[in-house]
């Protein structure tokens, strides 16, 4: 098992947002966490990366407890996190953003990893000397994913990669994520766009009000009455 979270409580200040969350991600698996606005999905990823401190519970990555480590130490273990909106560094060029992604794996700048990523996201090559603040929403998201991948992480975590994008772009981004999944990358995907997430992922968790209320293979979840009514609107 790559990532195992057990009985996790976390939140801001003294108020917990996540209650006793338990979740696992196996190697080469794509797992999604779906849930409504404010359920705590982003908080979950922020807690895994140490941006939000766990109040209690365990976060084990590759048999190692990481809940007490600082964010940069957690990243060095091989986790990449693409937060909501991607958040490339606005005043850095596309190329400098990619370089920053290799901050912990500097040898990857010479190993041709950048060229692989340019092949996956050709638009980034065209824009490589442009400041990230001048990119469109879709380009920002692709840059952020590429920046996450350049360190060759063992686990890629994506927070709503489809947020705010036109349907055509959502299709394009999901196509890329599918290619990554098929290449064997382990992905933890957070989404509100339930139909896309359930179609792509192997397994899913449903997070509501900070509680994981349901889990199972995506096919099972898609056919459950609750999911169909509350999320898929069927």
């Amino acid at each position: 098992m790559l990532l195992k979270i057990s009985n996790l409580n976390a939140g801001y200040g003294k108020v917990p947002v996540l209650h006793e969350c338990t979740l696992e991600v196996n190697e080469h698996e794509t797992v999604t966490v779906i849930g409504p606005n404010g359920a705590g999905k982003s908080t979950l990823l922020k807690t895994i990366t140490g941006l939000v401190k766990a109040m209690s519970g365990q976060i084990v990555f590759q048999d190692e407890e990481i809940a007490t480590l600082s964010t940069d130490q957690i990243i060095r273990k091989g986790i990449a996190f693409v937060p909501e909106g991607g958040r490339p560094f606005p005043n850095m060029t596309v190329l400098d953003n990619l370089r920053m992604g290799a901050f912990t794996k500097r040898e990857n700048l010479k190993n041709g990893v950048i060229d692989e990523l340019f092949a996956l996201f050709p638009v980034l090559k065209k824009r490589s000397n442009q400041y990230a603040r001048t990119l469109s929403g879709g380009e920002r998201q692709m840059l952020a994913i590429a920046r996450g991948l350049i360190s060759r992480p063992k686990l890629l975590m994506l927070d709503e990669p489809s947020l705010g994008l036109a349907p055509k772009l959502v299709d394009e981004i999901y196509e890329k994520i599918r290619m990554l999944k098929e290449s064997g990358l382990t992905v933890l995907l957070i989404e509100q766009n339930t139909s896309y997430a359930l179609e792509l992922a192997d397994r899913g968790y449903v997070l509501e009000n900070g509680h994981i209320i349901m889990t199972g293979a995506c096919a099972e979840l898609s056919s459950s009455d609750h999911i169909r009514k509350a999320y898929l609107g069927i």
Binding site: L51, N91, M100, S151
Partner: protein, 287 residues
């Protein structure tokens, strides 16, 4: 009249480059840590005294003294960061303000205790004379100071753009959480930034001592100058910083030449206020 104007502009331009160097220190600290170091001018004053001591003890020229004061101020910056600044980062803004204002008062008091209220100047200088171009005189010591300042500014620009540590500083300045998410240790980056900001005052202090005297309250002037240049320049443009330093330098020397030398801080304050009114992001700033 025209000659005097041109002469004071020439002098002001050279001073302005030193002001830009001083401001570069407060600017990277503000840009990266989001902390205004109100003691920055007193770092300059302190460096000037150190240069005075070293220059006197070793019979060195003022411009040589940074060889020793740079490492001293660099380490001093690290210590100040970890002892004081680091603990205020998550605090209210007013706490940060109180802490750096307190540091300013502390450094000034220390200077008064160690060096008394006497102004000090170095006698010895290998850089003598001046260069005569037509009716205009360029003091060699100031020209050398301006050139060395430019070299250090260019060096910092190179460091920020090309080195890993400099890129980490830019990333932390752009988006601190995201910088952590690519593996940057923000405390180490902050400490390094503060130490570099502090070391730059050592360079400026040595250069200033080659043609000026220092006194314990002189830090206010440099602090004030650097806020004014920073306000003019905004964050993120090093050419903008140099031009802003020159504007302030020229405003100062023109005031000294044509009005009362004692009104020079007033003029700088005037520029500061005008910028805040009309261009709150500075002339060249992006944030």
């Amino acid at each position: 009249m025209l000659d005097m104007t041109v002469q004071s502009i020439i002098t002001g331009l050279m001073m302005g480059v030193i002001y830009a160097l001083i401001t570069l220190g407060i600017s990277i600290v503000f840009g990266v840590l989001n902390v205004v170091n109100f003691a920055h001018g007193d770092f300059v004053m302190f460096s000037m005294y150190l240069s005075y001591m070293i220059g006197t003890a070793l019979v060195w020229d003022a411009v040589q003294t940074p060889l020793i004061t740079i490492p001293v101020l660099f380490i001093f910056g690290f210590i100040v960061y970890y002892l004081i600044i680091d603990r205020t980062l998550r605090q209210m803004y007013v706490v940060q303000l109180a802490v750096t204002v307190g540091l300013q008062i502390f450094m000034r008091s220390m200077a008064l205790i160690i060096w008394k209220a006497q102004p000090r100047a170095l006698q010895y200088s290998i850089i003598q004379g001046n260069i005569q171009i037509g009716p205009y005189t360029i003091l060699t010591s100031r020209l050398v100071a301006a050139i060395i300042s430019l070299i250090f500014i260019a060096g910092i620009a190179w460091f920020l753009n090309k080195s890993w540590a400099g890129s980490a500083m830019r990333a932390a300045s752009d988006d601190l959480d995201m910088a952590s998410l690519v593996g940057v240790n923000y405390r180490r980056t902050y400490a390094l930034t503060f130490a570099i900001g502090s070391a730059l005052t050592a360079v400026a202090g040595g250069l200033l001592m080659s043609f000026q005297q220092t006194d314990p309250v002189g830090g206010i002037r440099f602090g004030f100058l650097s806020w004014c240049v920073l306000a003019l320049a905004g964050l993120g443009s090093i050419p903008g910083l140099i031009i802003s330093g020159m504007i302030v330098g020229v405003a100062e020397t023109v005031t000294i030449t044509f009005f009362d030398p004692r009104s020079r801080l007033l003029v700088i304050y005037g520029i500061f206020i005008l910028v805040l009114w009309f261009k709150p992001r500075g002339l060249f700033g992006r944030k």
